[in-house]
Symmetry: C2
Subunit: 210 residues, 2 copies
Amino acid sequence: MLIVHHLNNSRSQRVLWLLEELGLKYRIKHYLRDPKTGRAPPSLKNVHPLGKSPVLQHGDKTIAETGAIIEYVIRTFGEGRLVPEYGTDAYDNYIYFLHYGEGSVMFPQLLALYVSFLGDAADPLQPIITRQMKDHFDFIEYHLTGHEYFAGNELTGADIQMIFPLEAAKSHGRLKEYQACIDFVDRMHARPAYLAALSKGGHYDYGPKI
Amino acid sequence: MLIVHHLNNSRSQRVLWLLEELGLKYRIKHYLRDPKTGRAPPSLKNVHPLGKSPVLQHGDKTIAETGAIIEYVIRTFGEGRLVPEYGTDAYDNYIYFLHYGEGSVMFPQLLALYVSFLGDAADPLQPIITRQMKDHFDFIEYHLTGHEYFAGNELTGADIQMIFPLEAAKSHGRLKEYQACIDFVDRMHARPAYLAALSKGGHYDYGPKI
């Protein structure tokens, strides 16, 4: 049995989408953010010492870190789906965007979020944040222009990893000049598996309004 | 031919170490940080649109993102070295720490670096940063206690990925209460391949003093 330890309104929404795309059976254990601080509840520390979501349980295995969860699920249950053929350029892109989605593009967005707690005192950092975001969205826009997916010609785990930074950016009005990025988000949001995951995950600010 | 686009004093030092461990031939193209701002030179944007290091060139392939570079090099040239056997728990840990090394544990350290530009105005964020760092180093310390490597019983790409956050933390005095973490860094720093990479990479603040 697969169990997703799922924090509402968080990057773990992607994991539900992944499992829906593969048609897998799973159970969701729901965790709610503290309504005041927005932080994950301490009970998540009982699942994994870092107290973060998502965490996937599969039998006696406990797997954290979205990119690692996506790789695990696809190699264990994918039967060749959601991953480009090994040894192709598309496979290289698949691995690249799995890492890039949390290792790089999220950083300026997280930095913006954290320093927003400081108000005007954070003004000196805004040019750095703006420049980094521009570099990333320029890069992604270029990659997506003329391409429906991040790696090859079909949906892969890379698209599932990349939806969260793009959803977050769109939701904060950061994609106004990035039409290929917006179109990508809208295409993914129209997928039946995405919508099925949404209906099971609970409130999610970055999803389509339904 | 492999070419490493290497920024001095940066996380790309790991890539040189990886190539030395595999005994591969490679060329280093050196880039120097701006001595005033510490930023990478604009010339890195000619190699990859994000203008970051490391970037690996292999023939007509250009690969960025350290975790993706490590996976690429090991699957292309490793011949089974530096990666646990597929399907084992050690393999799951290998993939996990490849993602975790940039996707999670670096964040509070990067946040601390960026908000240090704000001086005392960043004080309200310090408890969050301190708590996140404690969670991460507690977790890593627990994982390394009684284990020589991050994934299985031999050196793997996971160790190479994890050296940078631990070196950075040690160098900033953040590991004082984490003996297993310090021992790990010291063990890796004693490896001949690490030292060979160090002598080729140029100035590196986080390495052993030699």
